[in-house]
Chain length 206, copies 2
């Protein structure tokens, strides 16, 4: 079984890249499906699950010294329990034994015993803003300033969550097999070179 | 003409990767040849050239407030003039119009108008130490501790020199097309996947 994980900066096009790679390689593809899985497992609404998992959470100090069930405390405990559910969902995906691409959710850390091929996708700031502004969807009414703020927030949460799970640094190139810079590219242009790399990579380990 | 530039952390195996890629692709290969070129151009001994280019240099402050031709001042001016000579040597390589791989020396920055394919090679600390200890050559009598110190020094000089030349960050993944982590690999295992990526990359821009 071959697993490809994609971690990515907000706006870098990593999700599109993951989707296109899965199509090209004829692999299963997982992204929002994971949130749905956590929602089903926890009996909680999918948007609550998504918001909680992508929230800041609190640092250890707050958790230790919090004496009442204050909102930050509750948020933190929800986040931790949902992260555990999410881990189960991701492990269940791997146990299916089918080749797949998993976008985000620290699947590279959770599935490390399966020897996945781990990609980090980045781009320079201007290129990420441009990509976001071109995209339709939940961000389409944001101003550039709001977008930059969101970009920073999302990436900070991703970094903190990874640190919480693994103690390792998000986006540090020696944590991934390959770090791909999408600046100046249409995502589809990267599919063919990356596929070639990946096929050769998995060929090597066979 | 296709140019591949390799920037790398000390001990990551970047030079070997560059050499093997050049062999695989049948490209010219440049590494110490550049120092020889600078030596010839400047009439200075190659080891002096190499030491000066790979020395720390001083920060702007020292340069500004230095009132006598102190050693740091002289080192700094030598470094700058040798960097300019080095730039000429690298530009002359590109003007030959032949496909080539250039290791180090900020060729990615100097030759950016030629649209080179820029690779950064990294590895985790343990893997770099292991690789250095296995290598014969100038480092073979260093203790692990001395090696770690050298590793840090060399990378710091590389980072500072790049910043001096381009104002941009050394090793930051959005400065390169691809960042390759060699941890856990024999360098030769990476040649085939990378070649596949590169061939596809250059195919795209034709």
């Amino acid at each position: 079984m071959k697993i490809i994980t994609i971690s990515r900066e907000f706006g870098s096009g990593g999700r599109e890249l993951g989707k296109r790679l899965a199509e090209e390689l004829n692999f299963d593809y997982y992204d929002s499906e994971i949130i749905v899985g956590v929602s089903e497992k926890s009996g909680l609404d999918a948007s609550f699950v998504s918001e909680t998992l992508d929230s800041f959470g609190q640092d250890g100090r707050t958790l230790t010294f919090s004496r009442t069930l204050s909102t930050p405390f509750r948020l933190e405990t929800s986040k931790i329990s949902l992260l555990l559910k999410q881990k189960e969902v991701i492990e269940a995906i791997a146990k299916k034994g089918r080749d797949c691409v998993i976008v985000g959710r620290n699947a590279d850390v959770i599935l490390k015993d399966y020897n996945p091929f781990n990609i980090f996708v980045c781009a320079d700031r201007d290129s990420k803003i441009k990509r976001c502004l071109q995209r339709t969807g939940e961000n389409e009414n944001l101003t550039e300033r709001e977008l930059v703020r969101k970009m920073k927030q999302v990436d900070t949460v991703r970094a903190r969550t990874r640190e919480m799970i693994s103690g390792s640094s998000w986006g540090k190139p020696d944590e991934y097999h390959l770090t791909v810079n999408t600046t100046g590219f249409e995502i589809k242009e990267l599919v063919s070179p990356l596929t070639a790399y990946i096929v050769n990579f998995f060929g090597r380990t066979k």
